[in-house]
Amino acid sequence: MKWPLVFDPLFHVPFLNGLLLAATVPLLGAYVRLRDEWLASLGIAQATAAGGVVGMLLGLHPIGGALGAATLAAGVKGFYRRSGNDVFVLFLLFGWAAALLGAANSAQGEEVSHALLDGQLYFTGPFHLLAAALLAAVVALLLPRLSRRLLIERFFPDYFAAMGAKAWRLNLAFDLLVAFAVGVTAQSAGVMAAFALVFLPPWATFAGASGWRRALLRTEGLAVAAYVVAFAAAILLNQPFGPVLVASLLLFSLPRAFSSRAD
């Protein structure tokens, strides 16, 4: 075991970057689950991955491409307000095809594509950290304001219409927030790890929580614990970070989800 490696200053920025994402993204995931839109996060993750590859081909930073794709995906999702998951499946398939085709036609694109698959958190730098810190700040600022309205929209679907108000601004703001979060996370931790951070912690904790606040706290705690374990394990076992994070989230989530259901 190479324990000193875990504490190497080389990994301080990646650790902090991942920690901010692990503390932020699952909170948004709780609201994604509230809205029953969890498939959207997978579709958007794949679309932002394609954005990263295409951005690279255009000479942009992959995060720039990913955020561009995130904005586009959130806009399309908002415009295409239809029940069901078909639009998210289209994102998923389109993003997958565009990412792989982009990668096949560029050496750099292939590198980014691999990073999106493996989730190379250890190679992230100050730019990624800045993006994660900005995301965390925006979520900390906006989510408390959006929370009540998102809950009202779910539990009192006619509330805004009865008041003569439109809910599209609320929906667009939340969709953009999720798309940016997923885009930034996919660039740092990989597509599937981004999706797992959105989906697994709330899925595991909702069943056993006695209320919304408690569910959010448990969601956050589970995600951060799973992240810290995954960060150390991937270094010590010399494994790609993305799959290790997904495995760790599964390990933390499965027992909790099933023991809660047995209550």
Partner: protein, 188 residues
């Protein structure tokens, strides 16, 4: 008399074709007005004209500027597996959580997806009725409720507050007559 909160003028509403109307009525501060009729008479369709869920073919709906509205659906939304407690649900609408009607107090710490249909119905009704909204719209509020709970709801509706108006939609004639100032009859 003060200006009504809501006025329906000769409203004909429906979906692809008209279902109900023309219907005219007004609801003002301190009043309880009921839309009453058998199932299929278009009560909920008429209500949908207010929220955009159904289409207005002719007539007009006027709402006083600045009026706050709270609406309890006939089929309230209760997404499975979402951990929201009764207390948290009431907090969303601003309904009184410290002194709720008696049957609700023990339910407030519980998750709403673990309440019975009748318990949840009464919680939803109180979330709207106790919200402080100017106009409270209750669509078939007695659905799934036990007789004792219906009596509690009756006394809540009979206790008029000067600013609050209630638009009640129900097919339970005895209940409607017990709590309403005016009844608007809808024929099938």
């Amino acid at each position: 008399m003060s200006e009504p909160y809501l006025v329906f003028r000769e409203v004909v509403a429906g979906y692809s074709a008209p279902v109900v109307g023309p219907v005219s009525f007004a609801v003002g501060p301190g009043e309880v007005v009921a839309l009453c009729g058998p199932n299929g008479s278009g009560k909920s369709t008429l209500l949908g004209a207010l929220t955009g869920a159904s289409r207005v073919f002719s007539g007009r709906i006027d709402r006083r500027d600045g009026v706050t509205v709270s609406l309890q659906r006939q089929l309230p939304a209760r997404p499975e597996g979402i951990p929201l407690s009764g207390r948290e649900l009431l907090r969303l609408t601003g309904a009184d959580r410290e002194n709720p009607p008696e049957p609700l107090a023990p339910l407030l710490p519980l998750r709403i997806d673990r309440l019975s249909g009748g318990q949840f119905q009464f919680l939803e009704v109180w979330a709207c009725l106790g919200s402080g909204a100017d106009l409270v719209i209750l669509d078939e509020p007695t659905n799934n409720m036990a007789p004792g709970t219906i009596r509690t709801l009756e006394s809540l509706l009979k206790a008029r507050t000067p600013e609050r108006a209630v638009l009640l939609i129900s097919h339970e004639r005895a209940f409607v007559e017990a709590v309403s100032d005016r009844v608007v009859e809808l024929a099938p």
